[in-house]
Symmetry: C2
Amino acid sequence: MNLIYEIGTDWSTIMKTRKRETKKKSQSVGRPREFIEEDVLDNVMSLFWKQGYEGTGLSHILAATGLAKGSLYKAFQSKHNLYLKSLERYEVVHVDAAVKALRSNESPIKRLDDFLSAPINDALTGRENKGCFLCNASADRADIDIETSQHVKRSFKKLGQALSLVVSDIKLDWTKDQIDQAAQMLLSVYSGLRIMSRSGVDIDTLKASKAGALSLIVNDT
Amino acid sequence: MNLIYEIGTDWSTIMKTRKRETKKKSQSVGRPREFIEEDVLDNVMSLFWKQGYEGTGLSHILAATGLAKGSLYKAFQSKHNLYLKSLERYEVVHVDAAVKALRSNESPIKRLDDFLSAPINDALTGRENKGCFLCNASADRADIDIETSQHVKRSFKKLGQALSLVVSDIKLDWTKDQIDQAAQMLLSVYSGLRIMSRSGVDIDTLKASKAGALSLIVNDT
DNA sequence: CTTAATATAGACCATTTAGTCCACAATTCA
DNA sequence: TGAATTGTGGACTAAATGGTCTATATTAAG
């Protein structure tokens, strides 16, 4: 009915002329971006993290980022791609941070304690309770989207390896298998805590879980 | 444009006459149902379990059940209600079965081993890999839907209590706290296994997790 | 200033969504 | 038989969905 695209002229032909090979500097040829990609991804990640893929509509994304559809799609191509970029961003921002914390110069037991305390502290402070994006994505998309599952697996692997290192710092006499088993157990407990805290399981139950897990590593020997 | 509802007459007035107080026998007054509620819920549960709430459309539900919209909505009122009913059905069919298995007359260690082996065996056989509906629902809906979270919490509690009983059968000298901590740890590991298996984490990693968890209970003393 | 290149805003669209409504079918009861 | 009651099928709808397209704005280079 109401068309408003008839005023201008001869555009598409002009557009298809050349495609200059500029080496993507931060200050490039045309009109500059009015947003920072990382900031947008942080906002979008938060939405997907909290609401899942199908639960997050373009409308939410546009509202949270303040971008218009045109800009969003020019920069990120599709909702699906935006989801994958969010997972990458999560790995860089949150997984790598957790790995770094697991490799800090605190005592190894303190590092494990902190690792398992994070879900509990988040549940205590209440606000949001997003859980863990990896866990949520695993439940949400990993079974139907190979790219998602690959990202998630890679991040889980990073965490598992970092945990193995910490355990090996405590249990100097354990075999590699024993160490890896304990580390994977800790990672499972972490995931379980993140999942159960989403449904509001009471704090004492979560704390018991953590205590049970740590008792394997902290006790005796 | 094309209206076809003009042939009949005087319906709504007739409908609003009386509302007989029949004590819901299985053979009631009007036209009988052409489906069994439990069968429909089993199908629908499977969809929500696999695809989540937003990921499951009415179209999927209609296709899977073979029902027409009218029948579906007359029986179940809304998609949301259908989801809650699916969770209830899951509790009755799957959670209670797991609890029963945990209370079987197998050796307590075998019962724990079986409990943690289920996620691994499901991952091994490949087909589907739905994970655990409680865990998925927790990630998917529990944070925004109180009714969902209540169902999920109740089911988790049942599992936790059953696990405590099994642990107490093994560790006769442990305190109640020790027992509960171990049980909650096992439940977290179970949840973690279910979640991680959704993203296709390799079987050996899952097995390591299980071994780590069981080593706390099986070893020494 | 002109031209090329890129970004923005938002109108627009095809499809899908959950949900409603009613003509009609099938049953029970009197 | 006929009234009352309940279930069925599916046409229909309003709103929302993800995605496209283009007029225009803004920059750099020549």
